[in-house]
Amino acid sequence: MLAMALQAVGAAFLLIAAIGVIRLPDPLQRMHSATKAGTLGTTLLLLGVMASGEVDRTASGWLPIVFLLVTLPLGAQLLARGAYLSGTPLKGLEDDPLADELHRPTERKEL
């Protein structure tokens, strides 16, 4: 029962993350939805599968959980830096606190 609840909540978080990727207005906000809710959903789904008792070898399920928790923030940080520096149009960036530190080109629609 606990396993089924974990699986259902995990799949629901993945669906909510995908809805956020569709609905939010700019790349950084979409990344906010994709990384945080996506990590939580995947972790809960893997934990639910491991707790279900249906799988013969559950110990290797810990590896993707730990790996996702370590690498998804790193990847999101790299991707956010790339998105900022590439000049993608960003909403609500009137007073840019990073303007003195990093050179950001004028916004280009095609990027």
Binding site: A18, I22, R30, D56, L68, L74, L79, R81, A83, P89
Partner: protein
């Protein structure tokens, strides 16, 4: 088809809906950063699908496939981030 199989099928349909939504964002764009964020989301959903396959077949080897997909996801995200940073230097 017992209750467990029905439950796994419902979870698969939910994940397929999420896959369609993220794929729509990947096709539509509008910028490269959006597409790479959508790729991140797509691989997270693929890890979820690998876990569901492990559940429905009862084979733990599919959890190793989840690890492989997440490894590829990190390398691809890092490479695409460097690509985005280099795009800026062009006129």
């Amino acid at each position: 088809m017992n209750g467990q199989d029905t439950f796994v099928a419902i979870l698969g349909i939910v994940l397929a809906l999420a896959l369609i939504l993220a794929g729509w964002r990947m096709v539509r764009g509008p910028s490269f950063a959006d597409r790479f964020v959508a790729l991140d989301m797509l691989t997270a959903i693929a890890v979820g699908f690998a876990a569901l396959t492990a559940l429905s077949t009862g084979r733990g080897a599919f959890l190793d496939i989840a690890l492989g997909v997440s490894l590829m996801n990190f390398v691809a995200t890092a490479a695409f981030a460097v690509f985005l940073e280099r795009k800026r230097k062009e006129p």
